[in-house]
C-alpha cells in the first residue's frame, strides 16, 4: 500500500515537472523568441551594451567637471582629452552623452511605469464593471485621446510652479496612459465573462481583490508587451521635448539637450560632434527597443511565434 502511494506521488511529481517544462514562463518564451530572431537578438545585445555603458560610466565620470563651463575650450573638435569634443560651454560631449543617455532612459522607464499604473487602474475598472461605468470612462478617454497632447504637455511644463524632473515625469505620464487604458479595458471586458471571475464573485471576494489578484495576472503579458513598445516612444517624446526646450530642466542633461544645440545653424553644419552622436544614439536605442518589443509581442501570442 505504501509503495503504491509512493509510486503515485512520484508519478505526480514527474507530471508536474513535465507540465512546467511544457509551459515555460513568459520570460523564457520571450528569451527563446529573441534568440530565434537575428535582428531582435542583435538589438538586445546592443541595448544591453548601451545601457551598461550609460549606467556604469557615470560612476567614473565626475558629474561636476562635465557640467563645468570652460570658456577657453568652446567647441573643441574631438581629441584624446575629449573623445567627442566640447560643446557651447566647453563641456565634454562624451560625458554629457553618457549622462544624457542614462537620464533619458531612466525617465523613459519612470514615465512608462507611471502611465502603466494609471492605464491599468482605469482600464481594469472600466473592463471589470462594464456597462455604464465603462461607457462614461470610454467617452472621456475617446476625448482625451484626440487632444493635441504635445501642446498640452508644453503648456503644463510652463505653468507648473517649482518645475523639476519629478514634475516633468508626472506631466508626461499624465498624457500617455489613454491607449493603455483602452487596451486593458477591451481585454478586461472579455475576461469578466469567464467562469473564474464569476466564481470569485459568488464566493464574495471583494471587487478590488478580483481585479488585482485574478484579472490582472491574466492581463500581465499584454501590459508587458505594451510597456516595451511604448518605452521607446516615451524616450523619443522626452528627448523631443528637451530638444524644444520644454523637457528636463537645465542642469539635468538629456540626449535632447545635446541635439538642441543643432538649432544653431553653425553647429549643425560644421560641428557634427556636438549633436550627431546623440542623434544616432537615440536612433539606435529606439530601433533596438522596438525590435526587442516586437519579439516580446510575438512571444505573447502563440500564433505569431517564430520559435
Amino acid at each position: 500500500m505504501k509503495e503504491l502511494e509512493q509510486q503515485l506521488l512520484e508519478e505526480k511529481r514527474e507530471l508536474m515537472a513535465r507540465e512546467k517544462k511544457n509551459n515555460p514562463s513568459f520570460l523564457k518564451v520571450v528569451w527563446r523568441e529573441i534568440k530565434s530572431d537575428k535582428v531582435a537578438f542583435i538589438s538586445f545585445i546592443l541595448l544591453i551594451i548601451i545601457l551598461m555603458t550609460a549606467y556604469i560610466s557615470p560612476l567614473f565620470i565626475d558629474e561636476a567637471s562635465v557640467k563645468r563651463v570652460d570658456p577657453f575650450n568652446i567647441y573643441n573638435s574631438p581629441s584624446a582629452d575629449n573623445w567627442l569634443g566640447t560643446d557651447d560651454g566647453g563641456r565634454d560631449v562624451f560625458g554629457q552623452l553618457m549622462l544624457g543617455a542614462r537620464n533619458s532612459f531612466t525617465i523613459g522607464i519612470a514615465v512608462t511605469l507611471l502611465a502603466a499604473i494609471y492605464g491599468l487602474t482605469v482600464g481594469l475598472i472600466a473592463g471589470y464593471y462594464g456597462g455604464i461605468v465603462d461607457n462614461i470612462i470610454m467617452r472621456i478617454i475617446d476625448f482625451l485621446m484626440v487632444l493635441p497632447s504635445l501642446m498640452f504637455i508644453i503648456v503644463f511644463v510652463v505653468i507648473v510652479p517649482n518645475y523639476s524632473v519629478a514634475s516633468f515625469i508626472f506631466i508626461m505620464s499624465l498624457f500617455s496612459w489613454f491607449g493603455k487604458a483602452r487596451l486593458i479595458r477591451s481585454k478586461g471586458l472579455a475576461e469578466r465573462e469567464l467562469d473564474y471571475i464569476n466564481a470569485s464573485k459568488t464566493l464574495g471576494t471583494p471587487d478590488w481583490k478580483i481585479m488585482l489578484f485574478e484579472m490582472f495576472p491574466n492581463l500581465s503579458s499584454l501590459v508587458i508587451v505594451n510597456m516595451t513598445l511604448t518605452l521607446a516612444g516615451n524616450i523619443g517624446l522626452e528627448t523631443g521635448l528637451t530638444f524644444l526646450g520644454f523637457g528636463l530642466p537645465t542642469g539635468t542633461p538629456s540626449l535632447g539637450t545635446l541635439i538642441a544645440l543643432a538649432k544653431n545653424p553653425d553647429v549643425i553644419s560644421t560641428k557634427w560632434w556636438v549633436w550627431l552622436p546623440a542623434a544616432l544614439l537615440i536612433l539606435v536605442m529606439m530601433l533596438s527597443i522596438n525590435y526587442v518589443g516586437q519579439a516580446v509581442k510575438r512571444a505573447s501570442d502563440a500564433r505569431q511565434r517564430l520559435a
Binding site: V146, L150, I154, I268, N290
Partner: protein, 322 residues
C-alpha cells in the same frame, strides 16, 4: 444616414465645451493676464490704475462670467490681443494659418502617395523581398523620432549637399506671383514635407498590408478569381475597394500627429507657421496667443475625428447601427 450625421455632430458639442473649459482653466493658471501684458513696464500706469482697468474689463468677476464672456467673444472671432506683437491674435494667425495648412495638406497627401502603393505591394506580394523591405521600412519609420529624422534630413540635404534651402517658407528675394516665387515655395516645402510624411506612413501601410492579406482569401475574392477575373482586376476592383476606404477613419489621429509634428518640423526648418508661433509665444509668455492656438488645434482635431467618422459611416453602413 442623416440621422447618424446629426447624432455624431451632437457628440461634438460636449467635446468642444469640455475642451474650451480645460483651455480656459489652463489660461487662467498661466501667470499674468491681459492687463499685466498690455501695460508691462509702463511707468505711467500704477498698480491702482491697473486694478481699475481689471475691474472695468471684468477680470475680477467669478470664473463662470469670465468664461461666458471669453466664449462669446471667441465665437465672434475675437481671440484677444497679443502683447508681444501688439496685434489682435486673429490677425497674427491669419498669415501663418495658410502656411501651416499648406504644409500639413501637402504632408498628408505625400503620406498617402507613399503609404498606399507600399501597403498594396506589401499585402499583395506577401513575404516577397519587396514586402520584407517595406516591413523593415515600417519598423524603422515607427521607431524614428521625428525631430531626429528632420535634423538629419536638414544636415544631409541642406548643409552637406546644398540641394535645398535651410529654412523659411519662401525666398525673401522672390517676388510674389512670379514663377520663381512658386518654385522657391516648392523648394522650401520639400524637406519639411518629406521629414513628416516619411515617418507618418506607418499606420496606413500597416493597416493596408494586414487588410489585404486578410481579404485576399475571402470567398468573394475566390469567386472573382473563379469567374476568371484577371489578377490585376481582382486587386483594383475587388480587394482595394474594400480595403482603401477605411483609411479615412484615421484622419482624426493623423491631424493630431500633424499638429504635434508641425511644432518640431516648423522649429527645425524655421518655417513660419502655427507650430513655430506656438513655441515662440510660449517662450515669450504671450499666453493670449498660446490659448488661442491650443483651442484651435483641439477644435481642429475634434472636427477632424467627426469628419472621419462620417466618411467611414458613408463607406461602411454597418457602423451606423451603433
Amino acid at each position: 444616414m442623416i440621422q447618424f450625421i446629426l447624432r455624431r455632430s451632437l457628440v461634438m458639442i460636449p467635446q468642444l465645451i469640455l475642451l474650451s473649459i480645460i483651455v480656459f482653466f489652463l489660461a487662467s493658471a498661466m501667470p499674468g493676464d491681459a492687463v499685466t501684458g498690455a501695460f508691462q513696464n509702463n511707468p505711467n500706469v500704477s498698480p491702482e490704475q491697473e486694478e481699475k482697468i481689471r475691474e472695468k474689463f471684468g477680470l475680477n468677476d467669478p470664473w463662470y462670467q469670465q468664461y461666458g464672456r471669453w466664449v462669446s467673444k471667441a465665437l465672434q472671432g475675437d481671440l484677444g490681443m497679443s502683447y508681444t506683437h501688439k496685434q489682435p491674435v486673429t490677425v497674427l494667425l491669419k498669415d501663418r494659418l495658410s502656411n501651416t495648412l499648406l504644409l500639413a495638406g501637402v504632408t498628408l497627401l505625400v503620406t498617402y502617395l507613399i503609404a498606399i502603393p507600399l501597403g498594396i505591394i506589401a499585402g499583395r506580394w506577401q513575404d516577397s523581398w519587396a514586402d520584407k523591405l517595406i516591413v523593415t521600412y515600417n519598423y524603422v519609420s515607427f521607431a524614428t523620432p521625428m525631430f531626429v529624422f528632420a535634423l538629419l534630413m536638414l544636415f544631409v540635404f541642406s548643409f552637406q549637399l546644398g540641394w535645398f534651402p535651410i529654412g523659411g517658407s519662401v525666398d525673401i528675394r522672390a517676388e510674389g506671383g512670379t514663377f520663381d516665387y512658386y518654385i522657391s515655395k516648392v523648394k522650401h516645402l520639400v524637406l519639411p514635407v518629406l521629414s513628416g510624411a516619411l515617418l507618418m506612413t506607418y499606420s496606413t501601410i500597416q493597416y493596408l498590408r494586414n487588410d489585404i492579406i486578410d481579404t485576399k482569401f475571402k470567398d468573394f475574392v475566390k469567386t472573382a478569381r473563379a469567374k476568371g477575373v484577371p489578377e490585376n482586376h481582382v486587386y483594383t476592383r475587388h480587394i482595394l475597394r474594400n480595403s482603401l476606404l477605411p483609411i479615412a477613419s484615421f484622419l482624426g489621429y493623423e491631424i493630431t500627429g500633424l499638429i504635434g509634428g508641425s511644432i518640431f518640423i516648423e522649429t527645425i526648418f524655421s518655417y513660419p507657421g502655427l507650430g513655430q508661433l506656438f513655441l515662440n509665444s510660449i517662450m515669450l509668455r504671450d499666453f493670449q496667443v498660446v490659448t488661442a492656438l491650443v483651442m484651435i488645434s483641439g477644435a481642429a482635431v475634434i472636427v477632424g475625428t467627426m469628419l472621419s467618422d462620417i466618411i467611414l459611416s458613408i463607406v461602411d453602413p454597418r457602423i451606423r447601427i451603433d
